[in-house]
């Protein structure tokens, strides 16, 4: 009866086999060629086969040898690190640099179990100011301080267009 004795190895093997499957699928579209005239798929084929061998070996290790459990995953940290990053990517053009970064920074602070509103707001303020100096003023990053969504919102509520110059 087979059982998972070393979960770290077992799941690493499973994960790598999934990668192998994806690459095998991609290889179907590629010309392999021959050793004297290698095609675009030649080198990747060698690599995929190698990874397959390693993945199986690691998987077998996971069934045969004893190992430690994987351990707890800090879901909170994982969420509050990745979600704000995705938010930043999704909104930096629409909301603009300042609001997008501020929200990202505040949300990231919540990843710590010791966070407070006060320190999160303060951190966000310092970060936005500092990044403005370094990236926009210093390095000339071409991004609007407040983005297209907000600008059209301001216009629709009757803010005069001239004052929107501050947005850039």
């Amino acid at each position: 009866m087979l059982s998972v004795k070393n979960p770290k190895d077992f799941y690493a093997g499973v994960l790598l086999l999934c990668v192998v499957a994806v690459y095998a699928l991609g290889l179907l579209d590629l010309r392999i060629g021959s050793l004297s005239r290698p095609g675009p798929g030649y080198f990747p084929l060698i690599l995929t086969s190698l990874l397959f061998v390693f993945a199986v070996a690691i998987l077998i290790n996971g069934l045969r040898t004893k190992g430690e459990p994987i351990g707890a995953v800090p879901w909170r940290a994982m969420f509050f690190v990745t979600a704000p990053v995705i938010f930043f990517g999704a909104t930096v053009k629409g909301l603009g640099f300042v609001p997008s970064l501020a929200i990202t920074a505040i949300a990231t602070c919540m990843g710590s179990t010791q966070w407070t509103w006060k320190s999160a707001l303060l951190t966000a303020l310092v970060l936005v100011f500092f990044s403005y100096i370094v990236f926009i003023w210093g390095l000339g990053l071409p991004v609007a301080l407040c983005g297209s969504w907000l600008r059209s919102l301001f216009l629709s509520v009757g803010v005069p267009a001239t004052s929107l110059n501050l947005c850039y």
Binding site: K8, D9, A12, L16, V19, Y23, G26, L30, R31, L35, S36, R37, P38, P40, Y42, F43, P44, L47, L50, L51, F54, A55, A57, I58, I70, G71, A72, V73, A77, M78, V81, T82, P84, V85, I86, F88, G89, A90, V92, K93, L101, T104, A105, T108, C109, G111, S112, T113, Q114, W115, S119, T123, A124, L127, S131, V134, L139, L141, P142, V143
Partner: protein
């Protein structure tokens, strides 16, 4: 004689580049930032260099490289401060420094330990710089006669060395290298045929190097650090007790010399670098010592040897990167990536085609080391303050820098999403005991390796025996095979595990 006059000419060219006000400033920024991140536990040189890469794209290549190099060896200095004062290594090269350094600090000799570490590092840095000056051009000259097959074998040897010297499972390290190579295959091949993009336009240019390294080493490490949040307490040190007595100076001299020699040699090895040298130097000192029982309880040699070795190793690990275009560790892989982005093709031709860049960077290392020596001891108070910055304030800043940094490369939100995904992937790999460092190595070298493979095969009309018939290639392959077999032998395997466990 000619040898020396050539060195003289090269050095003066280098200094003329490194001593411009602009480059001095970037060197200073580099070593300052490097020390700062070295001091902060939980933020390593890999993550920082990845974070700052986008900023350096706007600089001249020489300034960019000078600054990045400064970060790397600056981090070695900073890392030891943390190791000595709070028994937490700021980065991997100073793991062993923590053992005896912190014991010295507890005895009230923190100043002495810091002084030893700074002077040892400076001496080692100076020697290692001269080693680069003397030997790098010779190596580059030799490398000019390398054929594609030789390059392929050289890269293979680099991988084997990285695996042999890595911590943990050999099999997983190998798998990580291959995975890195495979990730590099995404995107068009040399003739422009699209590969592995599954018809999505976002992947048609392949994975973004910056997004991948920032994700895995920046975000991934943050999630890992947030697993358990600790508070830190530093031992206070007065700057007065920095000055050692004559007897103490004598005690540290020999370990510094030995550490420098050992670190320099191990740094050149592919897969080497700062960490390996410091481990090796520690065990050497323990063996050479007249009273080995003192080790672990505050032996001065246990600080002097490893500290010299890690700085020497950090320096000489530039040799394979600058002369052969082969990174010996992840930091060098990032530097190589930076060079490629500046459209400088790394390899033996850099020395002859861009002597200003090569010698400028090399001489800047000595200048940087000098700055560190002058800066660090008087500024120790500032670094101690740095140490007490809680991580909960630090990591949002890192996340924000990563976001802006990766976005600024192409102004493409998709890169930001890639980074987020790579962060989660990096954390998963860490959880499964798969070190991500070899993955980055594979990713950076992947395209080059494929290129050399295809060229070697075309030149030999598909005869794969070319790898075994060319003497250079054969030698490299034999070395790799021997290294791999050695590490698989049970006796040595056990020793290797002990060495890493210490």
């Amino acid at each position: 004689m000619e040898f020396f006059s050539e060195i003289g000419a090269n050095l003066s060219l280098g200094f003329s580049q490194a001593l411009t006000p602009e480059n001095l400033l970037y060197c200073f920024i580099g070593v300052f930032l490097g020390t700062a991140i070295g001091v902060l536990p939980g933020l390593g040189p890999i993550a920082t260099i990845a974070m700052l890469l986008p900023i350096t794209f706007k600089l001249e290549p020489i300034s960019a490289l000078i600054m990045l190099a400064g970060i790397y060896y600056g981090a070695q200095y900073g890392g030891s401060t943390t190791a000595i004062l709070i028994n937490l290594p700021g980065e991997s090269g100073s793991v062993v420094t923590a053992i005896d350094g912190h014991q010295l600090a507890k005895k009230g000799k923190a100043g002495l330990a810091l002084f030893t570490s700074a002077v040892g590092s400076f001496f080692a840095g100076t020697v290692a710089t001269f080693l680069i000056v003397a030997f790098a051009p010779i190596l580059a000259q030799a490398a000019l006669s390398f054929a594609p097959a030789d390059y392929f074998s050289l890269m293979l040897m680099g991988f084997v060395a990285a695996v042999v010297l890595a911590q943990g499972s050999l099999l997983k390290a190998l798998a990580m290298i291959v995975l890195g190579l495979l990730i590099a295959m995404v995107g068009p091949n040399e003739s422009g045929a699209p590969r592995f993009n599954f018809d999505s336009p976002e992947f048609s240019d392949g994975f973004d190097f910056v997004a991948l390294s920032m994700g895995v080493f920046g975000l991934g490490e943050i999630i890992r650090n947030l697993e358990d949040e600790k508070t830190r307490q530093a031992i206070r040190s007065k700057w007065r007790d920095l000055i050692p007595t004559k007897a103490e100076l004598k005690e540290m001299a020999a370990p510094i010399l030995r550490g420098t020699a050992l670190g320099s040699m191990l740094g050149i090895l592919p897969g080497g670098g700062a960490m390996l040298g410091s481990f090796a130097a520690y065990s050497l000192e323990k063996r050479m010592s007249k009273n080995p029982q003192e080790f672990g309880k505050g032996a001065l040699a246990g600080v002097a040897g490893p500290e010299s070795a890690n700085n020497a190793g950090a320096q000489t690990s530039f040799i394979p990167m600058l002369t052969l275009g082969i990174p010996s560790n992840p930091v060098m892989a990032l530097m190589l990536g930076a060079l490629i982005i500046h459209s400088i093709i790394p390899g033996p031709k850099v020395v002859t085609e861009r002597p200003d860049l090569f010698w400028g960077v090399v001489t800047s290392m000595w200048i940087g080391n000098f700055m560190l020596l002058v800066l660090n001891l008087p500024l120790i108070g500032i670094w101690v303050k740095f140490l007490t910055i809680p991580y909960r304030l630090l990591f949002p800043a890192i996340v924000a820098m990563c976001c802006i940094g990766v976005y600024s490369v192409n102004n493409n939100p998709f890169d930001v999403f890639t980074m987020a995904a790579c962060g989660v992937a990096g954390y998963i790999l860490y959880k499964l005991d798969c070190e991500p460092a070899p993955l980055l190595l594979g990713f950076v070298i992947g395209r080059l390796m494929e290129d050399y493979f295809i060229r070697a095969m075309r030149l030999s009309f598909g005869d794969s025996s070319v790898f075994f018939t060319r003497p250079i290639s054969l030698t490299l392959l034999i070395v790799s095979a021997v290294a791999l077999i050695l590490v698989l032998l049970p006796a040595i395997r056990k020793k290797r595990e002990e060495a890493f466990a210490e």
